[in-house]
Structure formats: C-alpha cells, structure tokens
C-alpha cells in the first residue's frame, strides 16, 4: 500500500472511532433529556402550590417581611450562576456565564456590589482562571440534581440575605440559569428571587384572574411567611437546577449530533481522497508495468535485429 493511501486510511479509522463516541454521547444525552424533563414536570405541583401560598400570604396580609420589601438603597446583591460540570455541550456553559456577566455589569451600574455563587465545574474554572472572588461553589450534581442539593445551595444564600448588609449580608438574590424551552431552544436567563416582586409572582400563579380567598393563618401570617420564603427559594433553585440539567443534556445532544454529522462528512471526503489515491496508485503501477514491458520489448527487438 502506498504511503499516501495509508495516511488516509489511518485518518478515516480515527474519525470513525470519534464518530462512534459522539454518536453514543448523543444517544445518552437524548435519553437523559426525557428523564430530566420528567423530573421538571414532577416538581411542578410543589412549585405551583408553593407559589400560590406565597402569593396568598404576601397579598392577603399586610405583613411587612424583610424578604418581601425592597431595601431603600441596596448595596450588595448575590448572583447564583448555574453551569455544567462537564464540557462537550456546545455553548451551554459559556452562554450562562455570559448572561451572568451582563447581569453583573447591570448590577454594578446600579451601584451594587456583587457576590457570586457558582454551581458547576465549568463556571468555577472560568472564575478561577480569572482569579475572581467566588463566595461559595458547588459541583458534582448538575447532571441530575436532587432536592437536597437545592437545599444545600439555598442555605448560605438565605443566611446571607437575612444578615445585615453592614455585616456582609446581601439585599438581593439573583439567579442565572438556562431555561429549557424545547428540545431545540434553551435560553440563558436571569431572574430575581428575592426580594419578591409580588406582581410578578401573582402573574405567574393566577393566570385567569383568580381571586385568592382570605386565609386564616396558622399560627400567624409572619410565622407562615418566615417558614414559606426559604422553602420558596429552595423550590425556585430546585426548579432552576432541573431546567438547567435538561438544557445541558439538550445542548450536549445537539453539539454531539453536529459532531457526528461533521465526522460523517469528514469520513466521506476522506474516503473520496483515499479512493483517488488508490486509483492514482493503480494507474501509476499500470503505467510502470506498461512502461517496463515496452522498454523490455524495445530492448529485445533491438537485439533481434
């Protein structure tokens, strides 16, 4: 086999192996999206009921709770950024990071300090490389987050929002995650979790102008709100984690699908080149044989004469 042909054959082999891997990753991601989506759906009843309850307390009572009232001059805001642990998911993590940067700029323009909290190894690496300060980070569960993970994340956030800003607490809580719209569309979005803007919550929960009844609070509106809001934050974070996981799988599936397609194209063009090389080799061999035979014939014809 000629040298040229051998080089092509080897490259085809390498690309075929890569294609097999990306194809497998694509199929794994595809099956995980369904699972992740099912988890999002399963968490919905809890989230909607909780939102309803929060709206009911917030609108149905005149309680002024630190978690529902905006500080007059907010000085610090916490941003929770959800990225992935693993790469090979196209622009998934970098889109979320970009959205967080934008939010950070906006908050800085409003004169607020920003405390960053990060989920996922990719975000941690990005901030680590730039030597930016990260208050706390969590890794290892972005594939399939559990409620306990959301609780773990929520705890320091709630603690810092309850602290006075003078002692290092924050006034606002923002979250940046990738919203799962459909298999093909995922958007990096940012949202404010606390302080609650009642209008927004009300809009989410009561789509058809449902009038909320006057609740009887047990033991009291303040206590209920005290207990509700941390749960609300946890459930928001849990929902964001689940959506982010579904988005991550969808992004990975898409990235791996185009990688597989590209590998297919590459194999095709490489086989064309390999075929051409083989043809050229054969042609050369034939012409060598013909040339050699011709030379022999000429030589023997000459000696005969």
């Amino acid at each position: 086999m000629g040298a040229q042909l051998r080089v092509y054959k080897r490259r085809i082999q390498a690309v075929t192996a890569t294609k097999k891997i990306t194809k497998a990753m694509e199929m794994i991601a595809a099956s995980r999206i369904v699972k992740a989506q099912r988890k999002v759906t399963a968490s919905m009843p809890y989230a909607t009921e909780l939102t309803r309850a929060v709206t009911a307390v917030a609108t149905g009572s005149n309680t002024r709770h630190p978690l529902t009232t905006e500080a007059e001059s907010p000085v610090r805001a916490a941003v929770l950024l959800l990225t992935s642990d693993r790469g090979l998911a196209g622009g998934y993590s970098s889109n979320a990071i970009k959205a967080a940067e934008k939010l950070r700029e906006r908050l800085a323009a409003e004169g607020k300090e920003v405390d960053t909290y990060i989920v996922g190894r990719k975000g941690v690496a990005y901030y680590g490389f730039r030597e930016r300060k990260v208050v706390e980070s969590w890794t290892g569960f972005t594939d399939s987050p559990e409620y306990a993970d959301a609780k773990k994340i929520a705890a320091p956030l709630i603690e810092s929002i309850q602290k006075d800003t003078a002692e290092g607490g924050v006034d606002e809580l923002h979250i940046v995650f990738t919203e799962f719209v459909s298999m093909m569309t995922q958007n990096a979005v940012d949202g404010r979790m606390l302080p609650l803007s009642i209008d927004e919550v009300a809009k989410e929960s009561t789509e058809k102008d449902e009038i909320l009844p006057l609740f009887d609070f047990e033991p009291s509106a303040e206590d209920v709100l005290d207990a509700l809001l941390p749960r609300y934050v946890e459930s928001r974070i849990y929902n964001a984690l689940l959506q982010a996981a579904a988005s991550e799988h969808a992004a990975r599936r898409r990235a791996m699908k185009s990688a597989t397609d590209n590998a297919g194209d590459l194999i095709k063009s490489l086989s064309r080149l390999a075929n051409a090389a083989r043809q050229a080799e054969i042609t050369q061999e034939i012409s060598e044989i013909v040339g050699g035979a011709g030379a022999l014939a000429d030589a023997s014809a000459g000696s005969d004469k």
Binding site: Y46, E49, A53, V224
Partner: protein, 124 residues
C-alpha cells in the same frame, strides 16, 4: 353524597397522593388540626408528623410528612412537604434501624424523622 374535599399531597420532587377525602388530620406548629369540607380558608405550617386522610371511599391513608405547609381553600386542600412518604411505602425495618442509629448518635433530627415514620406505620 356527602361533601368532599380534594386533597393533593405533594413532595418537592413528586406528587405523592391525590384524591377525594372527607377528613384530613395534620399537625401544625400550633397543634393538630382537622379539616373537613367547608372549612375556612387556611394556611399553616406543618410539624413533622403523620398525616391522616380519610378518603371518601371509607379508607384511610396515612403519610409521614417532614415539615411543610397545609393550605386549604374552596374545598381544595394541598399538603406541601419537602419529604412525604405514604405509610405503605415505608420500610419498617429500615426506619427502626435508622431510629436506633439516630438514638445512639444522638442525632435528634434523624431520630424524629425515623420516629415519625414509625408512628405513621403504627397508625396505619
């Protein structure tokens, strides 16, 4: 037909039980509370404890609920809990083991969780 109320028992990651009931007894931070159809709208904080649901078919559903909320309005009752398990789902041996372990470790939170599970099974 007697009046009924619709019950949704949901945990953070799944819907545990839903159906029609005539009476629901749950433990709030200020004591046990029984809710029957036509109750005043209510929103309360739950203690961890067993929740008893008397279904309209006459059966009884017991669940161990660890913290959460009860909200009732328009004959619709929702029980929200971070963790909720039906008595049928609880592995008694495991709960007993957890109870013993928690006792020896003096982990009061875990001890209470295990205790609630066992009590839910006992009521059942």
């Amino acid at each position: 037909m007697a009046a009924e109320l619709h019950v949704e028992l949901v945990a953070a990651d799944r819907s545990v039980w839903s159906g029609e009931a005539t009476l629901v007894v749950a433990r709030t931070t200020s004591g046990d509370i029984g809710v029957m159809p036509g109750h005043q709208p209510l929103l309360g904080v739950l203690e961890s404890g067993p929740v008893t649901i008397r279904t309209s078919e006459g059966g009884t559903v017991v669940a161990a609920v660890h913290g959460g909320f009860i909200s009732f309005a328009d004959d619709k009752l929702s029980l929200l809990a971070e963790i909720a398990e039906l008595a049928d789902e609880i592995d008694v041996e495991r709960a007993e083991r957890a109870f013993e372990r928690a006792k020896s470790d003096t982990d009061s939170a875990a001890e209470r969780r295990a205790d609630v599970r066992l009590r839910a099974v006992a009521v059942h």
